[in-house]
């Protein structure tokens, strides 16, 4: 009986050990691949191309790190201001919803439209920072860090891939190219930025290594 039991157990043990080894090999193989920040889902990615994707992202990065974008994506809770990205005069603060607090809510000074003349607050009907629970910081991020943050719904404002693509035409995003007198526009035109943004996403949204 004992011999019969041992003979029966041996193949089970062998199969179990082989299963563990094969699982480990499969698991480790994922670690060596240069995966994009997102996986290919349905027809959203047309053509995975890590070289083209990273090249496009470097253009995106140039724009997002320019003052017109980065100033409202600060690392702290005070927005930045000006072409030199100094802390916003009078230190208005983000607040819970990103719309400021007390007597310095964003729309207290920032009107629905730009105003004529230098040094007046630029305008947009939806002026705000990202909320406190999802700060979407650009300031201080490397290209790799920023790419991963942008593509992750947990850090990008819960955006799906399609919403990310559409975000290039968001009102406040486009306002970065029209912020009134005395404010330098981003280094690429909106059209060039949008093309780079969509190229980056549709070729796999790869994150640069650094």
């Amino acid at each position: 009986m004992k011999q019969h039991t041992e003979r029966y157990l041996l193949p089970v043990k062998t199969i179990s050990v082989l299963a563990v080894i094969i699982s480990m090999i499969v698991f480790m193989s994922f670690g060596f691949k240069n995966e994009p920040a997102i996986s290919n889902t349905k027809n959203e990615i047309i053509n995975k191309d890590s070289v083209e994707s990273v090249k496009a992202f470097m253009d995106v990065y140039k724009v997002l790190m320019s003052p017109r974008c980065m100033n409202c994506h600060p690392s702290g809770d005070v927005p930045l201001q000006g072409d030199d990205s100094h802390l916003h005069n009078m230190f208005p603060q983000r607040g819970k919803d990103g719309k400021g607090i007390y007597a310095m809510k964003c729309s207290n000074c920032h009107q629905p439209t730009n105003l004529e003349g230098l040094n007046k607050p630029p305008g947009n009907p939806n002026w705000h920072l990202p909320p406190a629970n999802m700060k979407m910081v650009f300031e201080g991020k490397t290209p790799g860090q920023l790419a991963k943050q942008l593509i992750n719904p947990k850090t990008n404002g819960n955006k799906t891939l399609q919403q990310l693509i559409e975000h290039a035409d968001d009102g406040l995003v486009k306002a970065g190219w029209d912020m009134g007198e005395g404010r330098t526009v981003p280094p690429l035109s909106h059209e060039e930025f949008k093309k780079a943004w969509i190229t980056w996403i549709k070729s796999g949204a790869y994150a640069p290594k650094q």
């Binding site: 005069n89 607090i101 007597a103 310095m104 809510k105 207290n108 000074c109 009107q111 105003l115 003349g117």
Partner: protein, 154 residues
């Protein structure tokens, strides 16, 4: 013709809708408590309430106020007995007085939203209101006193 609701009263004014609210208040309606300090929303002297929020009337076009409720320093209370006004008088806060309407209007929003403001809350709320006479210490104390008055329902 534009109809504005200011301090619970309606005014019909014949002004360009692009005119800053500040000038309509001062020049057209003759409510001169709100002051011009810089014209670029940097000093806070022009703060009024638009639906309860502390907007800077020097950059706010009058068209934005149409159909909304505007409150100026003159309308902050019916009998000049808002806790802040009481505290301001008790502690003799103003020197020249020019910035004080704006200071009080900004502080009013703070005390409406925060019944027990800390020093940091006062910093955060009031950093946008400048005082060339340097009455900041008295302003701070007056806000604390007003909060106490408000809490005690005096």
């Amino acid at each position: 013709m534009i109809t504005l609701n200011i301090n619970k009263k309606n005014y019909n004014v014949d002004v360009d809708p692009e005119t800053p609210l500040l000038w309509v208040l001062r020049d057209t309606i003759n409510l001169v408590g709100t002051k011009y300090g810089c014209g670029i929303a940097q000093c806070g002297a022009c703060v009024v309430h638009l639906n309860g929020e502390a907007v800077r009337s020097c950059v706010t076009k009058v068209s934005r106020a149409v159909g909304q409720k505007v409150v100026t320093i003159e309308g902050l209370s019916e009998k000049n007995d808002h806790p802040l006004q009481k505290a301001w008088i008790e502690l003799d806060v103003p020197q020249c007085g020019y910035c004080q309407a704006g200071q009080i209007m900004s502080a009013a929003v703070l005390l409406r939203e925060n019944k027990n403001p800390t020093e940091k809350d006062i910093d955060s709320a009031m950093a946008g209101n400048l005082c060339r006479c340097g009455t900041y210490l008295r302003i701070r104390k007056a806000i604390q006193l007003a909060a106490e008055i408000q809490r005690k329902g005096k």
